[in-house]
Amino acid sequence: MKTRWRKIITYCLPVIGAILLTSCAWHGAPMTDPDDIAYAPLCFDPPKAERVELENGIVLYMLEDHELPLVNLSAVIRMGSYYDPPGKEGLAEITGTVMRTGGTESMTGDQIDETLDFLAGSITVSVGTDSCTLSMSVLEKDIDKGLKIFSDILTCPVFSSEKLKTAKILEREALERIHDNPQKIAFREFRRLLYRGDPRGRLSSIESIGKIERDDLLAFYRRFFRPRNVMIALSGDISKRDAIRKIKNNLDAWNVSGGPEPLPSPPSHVRASLNYIYKDTPQSVIVIGQPAPGETSPDYYTFEVLDFITGSGGFRSQIFAEVRNRLGLAYSAGSFYSSRREYGIFGAYAMTKSSSTMKALSSITTILDTIRDRGVESGGELAWAKESIINTFIFSFATPGRIVMRQMMLEFEGLPENFLTRYTDNIETVGLDDLRGVAARYLTGENRIVLILGNKDTFAEPLSSFGDFNTVKTGTDNEGN
């Protein structure tokens, strides 16, 4: 899922004054109140990436950065586990892996590895739910060699059977090893519960990996890899002219018809459920979550603020302050909100010693229900959240690499160009009434999924005190649809 979008644009904070060095003695004497420190204005007009469309339809965003002799390149393709055929879950992931390892029409996988390692360059593929990213980082002197390999992997991978075999063996073992990690099990099963009946909830298993053949990879590749379904972001120690020329040299000849893959439809309706996974572990994992607004929803900005106050805004956010700071029940506790164009997910979590499981659970649900029923009562809390979100926004533009990626992702996700430029203004307008309304609408019990992983025999209060829990059988080898 996308990470939190932060703003853009001319970043100008109000002019308060120059830096004041007030006198201060060490012990005893009054020190400057940090809230009274005056700051010089911060003006920043972030550089804008240049957008070029190649003749074959590839969209390229680029920005120069001559600080260090490095060039970074990322191609984003609309494909991912969402599109895994039923029964062959894991196909997108394996396709990505073997694209990288299985060689191209001009080089074997081993030759590619040797070349890249000698140049200390890297090419990696990562596959998500509905996007796949092929990234390269090379020294400036090696851009030609790197770009040739990168383009070949993108346009003519051969998916060697031998590398597919290895990839399947490693993937199966990785699935086995999920059982060793309580947090991974819990978040994986949470995903399955949240997206029940939706392709996003179908996860790979030993069985589904076993069914994947080379022909499946070839077909999957052909279904998604075409110029109009690819966008590239490039930044680094290279001039725009050279960059565009080199990209064209390598990719202009790639002609496969077809337009961009449409965005997948939002997930279907979620039904509330209470779920329990048995694992004999000294610390339980609690995850509670439900659907949340997408980025094009008018509620999006309010929800960003709501999530910040509830549990993602650090020590002062409510879940952290209560469950960790006041009660000492957890080291990790908080909330998360991840969003796409059309939908989002909101969740809260805590890891706590087995005996305090029910106490932590009720503490979190009380916070969520209070926010739902009464909103956020303090204007101070709202002001703190807004100021924090707005002031941190500049880090979205901290490096040319981030800027170029952000800009490209806006187009990739089908969001308006001014989405980022208006972000801070939109956060600024969020009021207490908005929070109350949005909290009441989204933090409803009707679609809330609760998941507890642990050993209920060691909880201080019975699990049933919260309601009737379904026992979820986990496993990476017994599911499917």
Partner: protein, 506 residues
């Protein structure tokens, strides 16, 4: 620059704890990898001994700020393990002017809490002979006092100030060798950082000490007790070192953690967080002159402290393989380690090369022999484990693919190590490793926080950031024969510790 064990990371907004990451130990500036660090680092030392390193970088109006204290878990006395780490947590609890509504009132109650807390610990420590009624009473008193103190305190004020003013990556790390505090800020907010940091370096108030002890116990449950890899690592280190403090976990042993002591923690703070034991590194959109004026103003008056001579027991030579097995209901895994010298020895640098040859990239020797063949799901090596300042370990981590066993992996790994001893690496392979080491550094310093972190790390651990340039010279000198010599000298069975995780229910 961090490893799961040597540097313990605390992130505020995310719950996923980084697992073992190879220790990045080197920097170099080969012509192709040019970045004129030597001329870009401005170095200052205040009268109280505080070292400051500044690099200007005007890419965006942001700045990354690191404070590293030249201390860590190694400086704890036995019985007090976990002190350096809880101290790091306490540093977020505020000061006499940050986080209080009325410090005079609050102080009075904190003193009482402190007395009751100590009395309670003494009683609980008696174990079976403890007076349970007394314990119940003391607990009740403690709870009442904590509620009373809560009326005067303003929780998480430091976090609030940074977050509100645009602070990002607010982090603290406690390692075996050093402790670091990091934040990134919009570049016009440096004075806020100086105000907060100088205050907590002088007048921290250890509020909520006893509930924070519960939090670090949860931290241990989360990152060690429910994590088979970390659990095994703990056993491995305790076996590999007999007496050196590297044998102890940074988080502390469970028993010690239950009785972490506020007086001891305060004394630890006073001694080791002194300005003469601290390096600040600042990278970003700043003016060195203006920044130094702020730093002098805020940090200049903190008095230096006398740092006691460190009486750290040297680890005796290991003469014979040691083996540990840990039972856990999890898939098997393997850790192998060899003792070796610390930086700035030449051999330490040679081990960076060996580390790279064995596990960096898909063409590294162990990756090809184990992962490419489908025998291991993962293999990794780390040089400078679990710390870098004192003689340490070169470590290999591997996880077999079922039904292959740790024993099979061990045999293949030893064959690969024997190859290093028997045949010189080719000039191409050596050059590849050097290229990778140089590029790693370049990528690390490409971000403000990467560069600031590296400068303050070497400033503290190697005595000066200039070790980064010394390293360059050392790396250029490494020959195939050096690799062979070091492999023969250190990668010996008698110098080895092996830890194996055996699957067994409960």
């Amino acid at each position: 620059m961090t490893s799961g064990e040597s540097l313990h990371k605390r992130t505020l907004k995310y719950f996923i704890i980084s697992s073992v990451i190879a220790l990045l130990l080197c920097i170099t500036l080969h012509p192709c990898y040019a970045y004129d660090l030597a001329n870009r680092v401005k170095e200052f030392t205040l009268a109280n001994g505080l070292k400051v390193l500044i690099v200007e970088r005007h890419i965006s109006p942001t700045v990354s700020l690191y404070i590293s204290h030249d201390t860590g878990a190694v400086d704890e006395e036995d019985g007090h393990t976990g002190t350096a780490h809880i101290l790091e947590h306490m540093m977020f609890k505020g000061t006499e002017t940050l986080g209080t509504k009325n410090f005079t009132e609050e102080k009075r109650i904190l003193r009482k809490i402190h007395g009751i807390g100590n009395a309670l610990d003494i009683e609980v420590m008696k174990g079976e002979t403890a007076d349970t009624q007394k314990i119940t009473n003391l607990r009740k008193q403690l709870e009442t006092l904590q509620q009373e103190a809560g009326k005067w305190s303003i929780p998480s004020e430091i976090d609030r100030l940074y977050t509100e003013k645009g602070g990002g990556d607010l982090n603290a790390f406690t390692g075996q060798d050093l402790t670091s505090y990091h934040v990134s800020l919009p570049s016009n907010r440096i004075e806020l950082w100086a105000r907060i940091e100088s205050d907590r370096m002088s007048n921290p108030v250890f509020r909520e000490f006893y509930s924070e002890r519960d939090v670090v116990m949860e931290e241990r449950r989360q990152v060690v007790e429910s994590n088979p890899g970390r659990k095994l690592l703990e056993q491995f280190l305790a076996a590999a070192f007999i007496v050196h403090p590297y044998r102890r976990p940074v988080l502390g042993w469970t028993h010690d953690m239950r009785f972490l002591n506020i007086d001891y923690t305060k004394q630890f703070f006073k001694t080791y967080y002194s300005p003469n034991n601290t390096t600040i590194a600042i990278v970003g959109d700043v003016s060195p002159d203006k920044t130094m004026a702020i730093i002098k103003h805020y940090f200049g008056k903190i008095p230096p402290q006398k740092i006691p001579a460190r009486s750290i027991t040297e680890e005796p030579v290991q003469n014979g393989e040691r083996r540990v097995k840990r039972v856990f209901d999890a898939s098997p895994r393997l850790i192998i380690g060899y003792h070796k010298p610390a930086l700035p020895s030449f051999d330490d640098c040679v081990f960076d090369v060996i580390d790279t040859i064995l596990s960096e990239g898909r063409t590294s020797r162990l990756f090809k022999a184990l992962v490419e063949k489908g025998l291991a799901v993962d293999v990794n090596t780390a040089n400078g484990f679990p710390g870098a300042r004192y003689p340490n370990l070169f470590v290999i981590f591997a996880e077999p693919v079922s039904p292959h066993t740790c024993a099979e992996l061990e045999e293949i790994i030893y064959n690969e190590l024997d190859m290093l001893k028997k045949e010189p690496v080719t000039p191409e392979e050596l050059e590849k490793a050097k290229n990778q080491l140089r590029a790693d550094i370049l990528r690390t310093i490409s971000t403000n926080s990467g560069l600031a972190g590296m400068l303050s790390y070497y400033g503290a651990v190697a005595g000066s950031w200039k070790y980064l340039t010394t390293f360059q010279d050392l790396l250029e000198r490494v020959t195939p024969e050096d690799v062979m010599t070091a492999a023969k000298k250190y990668l010996e069975p008698r110098n080895r510790t092996v830890a194996e995780l055996i699957r067994e229910k409960g």
